[in-house]
Amino acid sequence: MTAEFWITQTFNGLSYGALLFLLASGLSLIFGVMRIVNLAHGSYFLLGGYVGLSVAWRTRSFVAALLAGALAIALIGVGMERLFLRRLSGQTLGQVLLTIGFALIFQDLALLLWGGDPYSLPVPPALQGVLTVGGLRFPRYRLFIMALAVLVGASLWLALDRTRVGAMIRAAVDDAEMAQGVGIRVPTVSMGVFALGAFLAALGGVIGGGFLGVYPGLDFEILPYAFVVVIVGGLGSLPGAMVGSLLVGLLDNFGKALFPELAYFTLFAPMALILALRPTGLFGRT
């Protein structure tokens, strides 16, 4: 166990956490406003990756892949929310079954359209290679993910904390009924938040395509991570999603490196501990 091991693993954990933040911040916001447990959230991540892949093949543009993947999935999210989930507001079990139904359909459609082979998203040359600092090697792409997550996190925080729309969202999170009462169009806010959540998850999927790859089964593999982040951080809390993502990224990386056979245990045992001490998560409110 050299210092190099610890630094490299910490770096890898933080960059994985940055990717998880993109995925989980949307899930947390959606939950905060609409109290929906969205089991199709991992599917947004996977579909975003696939759409991004197709666009990247056609246009050879990484930016186009990012935007097209995220926007396409945001549209799917809006459709799901408007046409289906809205009818089931307040029915937790119904929402769970509905979103898992969609997750299965998306899984099968992805298999039908993109086949069963794993792919890797082509990364632009500027983001390839490694940055060497004091003899330690840091992949540029992972640095890029961390920078993007910081950017997204800061924008979200500014938007939520400093703008009128952000205030409306926070009001809807705190008490949807009262927010409706003072004239905030909660259904419109819900739709926007759902679209944003799907957008962020798909953005994560396109970016994840550059180092995790895109392959069948990724949707249900990544979903529990998003859930653990949200559980640890507290439902509906943006700071919670940030801290939770980094914690989960680090735990997962060190778990896999130090105890490969018990990797999930090292991820879930601390989650259980946090829950035992704070049932609503680190930043959650009751």
């Binding site: 079990l93 898992i100 359909i105 999930y264 991820l267 879930f268």
Partner: protein, 308 residues
């Protein structure tokens, strides 16, 4: 008795299956066997979801723990049926006892998410703890139970009767449980936790015991599943298996026991028939989820139930 119709339907279907079984070929017989086993799993979840109002998203965990116990014991140690049954039940119950301590603290959506995450712990172990579980390859070659009955359980027909008997035992025990004062307490908690607390009931203990008992019965199903399939793999403990069980309960009508068992049979037959005709059965299963929720939210049997 509110559930009399469910009991009548359940008995009729079980008796019908028992009568026609000797005339069936091997394939429909294995489907009936599968339906009986998965029916036990669905009934065990109904105790939580239908009677206590706790929607668990990790119920496959206890099912899988028991199935793995049987798989490992019967292949590595050549253990007999009763050893496997006992160890499987004990481990599943213990797992539920530990998970329950964490999960019962939470309510509503938190409960869903925590049970999902706890279920994933078991999946992760099944997938990664390769020296114990053989990882993704699974444990193959689980032999059918032998030597404690005067006839062999190797053939499909006797094994079907064996699992049908197990399902009837589970149904009877769970039926007695939900009609007991304890079971009525659970239903009270489902309707209003605060009222039950005000009446002096220990709500936490009721929920916890229901959670542990449901885990034990899921383990009971898991034991038979390992013997039926002859194979145990991470698929048995994955999230989709847990959610499929929820679908069976929702389809059959929560809080009727027989309903979820029939829901299980419907899904088992549907899955197998559809997969004969098309590779796209996940697509169809997904559509079934959405259809059930939109058009029969109280379940197929629930649709016949009188209003409370």
């Amino acid at each position: 008795m509110r559930n009399r119709r469910a009991v009548v339907v359940g008995v009729t279907v079980a008796a019908g299956a028992a009568v026609v079984a000797p005339f069936l070929s091997a394939y429909p017989l294995t489907l009936l066997t599968q339906a009986a086993i998965v029916g036990i799993l669905a009934m065990s979840l109904d105790l939580l979801l239908g009677y206590t109002g706790l929607p668990s998203l990790g119920h496959a965990a206890y099912f899988g723990v028991a199935a793995y116990a049987v798989g490992i014991l019967s292949t590595e140690y050549r253990s007999g049926f009763f050893t496997c049954l006992l160890v499987g039940l004990t481990l599943a119950t213990l797992t539920a006892a530990v998970f329950g301590l964490l999960a019962i603290r939470a309510t509503g959506t938190y409960f869903l998410m925590i049970t999902l995450a706890l279920g994933m712990v078991v999946w992760g172990l099944a997938f990664r703890w390769v020296s114990m579980t053989k990882g993704d390859n699974g444990i193959a070659g689980v032999p059918r139970p032998e030597g404690f009955l005067p006839w062999s359980l190797g053939a499909p027909l006797p094994f079907f009767y064996f699992t049908l008997l197990a399902a009837l035992v589970a149904w009877t025990l769970l039926g007695l449980l939900v009609r007991s004062p304890f079971g009525l307490g659970l239903m009270g908690i489902r309707e209003s936790e605060s009222r039950m607390r005000a009446l002096g009931y220990n709500v936490w203990l009721h929920k916890y015991l229901a959670f542990v008992i449901a885990g034990g019965f899921a383990g009971f199903a898991g034991v038979f599943w390992a013997y039926y399939n002859g194979f145990v793999s991470p698929v048995d403990v994955q999230l989709v298996t847990s959610v499929e069980t929820l679908l069976m309960v929702a389809l059959g009508g929560p809080g009727t026991l027989a309903g979820p068992a029939l829901g299980a049979a419907v899904i088992v037959f549907l899955k197998n028939f559809v997969s004969v005709y098309t590779k796209r059965w996940l697509l169809i299963l997904g559509a079934v989820y959405i259809g059930v929720i939109l058009f029969a939210p109280r379940g197929v049997l629930g649709a016949f139930r009188r209003e409370r």
